[in-house]
Amino acid sequence: MSESLRSTLDAVSRDVAMPDDLTDAALRLAGRRRRRAHVTVPVLAMVVVALLVLLVTSVFSVGRRAVVPAGPVSGPGAVPSSVGAVSDVRSEFSAPIARAALMYQDRGGTPILVSADDEAVRALRVSSSGGYRGAAYALSPDGMKVAYGWQKTSPVGGAQPKTQLRVVTLATGETASLALPGIGLGEPVESIAWSTDSARLLVQGVVTEGAQQNGGYGSVECFLVDIDSSGALTRGAKVQFTGPDVDGWSADGQRLLSVQTPEVDITDLAGKTVGSVRLRSMPDAGRYGNVFGAAGQLWSPDEQQLAIAEAKALPDRPLNVLDGKPRPYLLRAVSLTSSEATAPETDVELGQAMDAHVVGWADDGRVLVGVLSGGAENVYSVDVRTGEKRVVVRFDAGLTSSAPQVAGEIVRGGGFR
């Protein structure tokens, strides 16, 4: 039977057209590399010495602080231009910020924060010493903290990496960390979800320690982390959560919602299913729904509805795959009050887009949805009752991985105040 995966891969590989003879191009490239090597080696030696001097100097000057929430955001496309109250975004700041209303990632994956108080913009710089880097950044709902995994993702094998969960307080730059023994290799911290009161985290990580000795494999582990008033982190109980992502955490902190199309499951923290809704295929949805699972859905704060951003199926493109071409996207709000969600209550056209996903629900019932179109991912505020929509944040074109997250003011008001 495994032959079928092999034959499918074989068939996929045959879709590529064969190029003309690559010999001359390869020889030219080899020649360039050889010439460059002759020039580069002495220059590299000088650069390495200079970097070592710089490194030693910086270690003594900044101590062991891993996160520096400071510095102007530079580079084209790094600063969001905006409409509404964010129209005067400044780009030269050095002081920390108290609360962030919005976080997105620039093209290099650096988290960029926009202050809820004065719309100042900050880059969150994370130490990459020893090959470690930040991943799975998550902005707390109160906008005051950012959690992330500090992990080594490259070459696997050898000793277990010292993966950590870190939480940085934006007002001070202080970072609390929690060692995650056993979690490591590959993409170890897969996701981090905040509880609605910003006091707890649900962390999904890949446990590989001991797997080789057992002749077995790594497994995904999900566990709670509590944050006390001093900011210290404490690892809590394991959670039997099997969904791909947390798409909502109940206000009382006791239930989790996840969507694996067409099933919507609500479980308690012990892993027991306490609610289940089957989404019936929408009339013009893709043949397989959203193939990638991460369809950009989110549970409403009153736990009665689910907002889904979904591409329409086209006659020549029945699959909702990321194929590099725009599609008409819809925002749909479905009721979760019965066991089968048969019809969307709201069906709002978002226009032609490459991707769209729900990023927040406001208390007034408006849904915030990120829409990637024309190289920019803008955030719309949509009234799911009337279908009225407006842009609340407009990013510069070229932000191919903006991945906006919202918190604080922007969620409460359905936009910046």
Partner: protein
């Protein structure tokens, strides 16, 4: 500055003619994009040419190792850009029925959502049909790592493309 001359260049040209199709197909599975695949193969062949004296005895093995190592490190350096992996859908072929084409599209799209390392492990295990030990040796990691990466990759593929679950489950049984 000539990289190869005389017999060496002739042997290299023969090797390129014979091995380019296999390298291109593997590179396409690893990158998901025909242009990136061609760049990757061209860079691999340049590496082979630069080290032809060492590689001449087993050029295919040398090229394959270089290809997979570059595929993993390229994507690490370039950052993860899953939304731009596929420049265009392949043209529908007359021999395809809808089911085959859909299956290829889904598998190709799902592959693009794996980490470079997971993709490399899957392609080596199920496309090149290498045993775990050879896969580990080629990627420079342990057999245990190959096992865990394979498991994560298949599990992720099942989540991304549940309609093809049987395909991935059968692969897991064989593993």
């Amino acid at each position: 500055m000539t990289v190869l001359d005389g017999d060496a260049e002739r042997e290299f040209r023969e090797f390129v003619r014979a091995d380019t199709p296999n390298l291109m197909r593997a590179a396409y599975l690893l990158t998901g994009d025909p242009h990136h695949a061609q760049d990757l193969v061209q860079s691999t062949l340049a590496n082979v040419a630069l080290h032809w004296r060492a590689a001449a005895e087993h050029p295919h093995a040398y090229a394959r190792k270089s290809l997979y190592h570059q595929a993993v490190s390229w994507w690490r350096w370039r950052g993860r850009r899953p939304e731009t992996l596929f420049a265009a859908l392949p043209d529908a072929s007359a021999r395809d029925d809808d089911g085959d084409r859909d299956r290829r599209l889904v598998v190709r799209a799902a592959l693009s959502r794996l980490t470079p390392k997971q993709r490399a492990v899957l392609v080596l295990r199920y496309f090149e049909d290498l045993p775990e030990s050879e896969t580990a040796a080629l990627l420079g990691c342990s057999v245990g790592t190959v096992k865990s990466q394979t498991r994560h990759a298949l599990s992720r593929l099942r989540a991304l493309a549940p309609e093809l679950g049987e395909l991935f489950e059968s692969a897991e049984v064989r593993r």
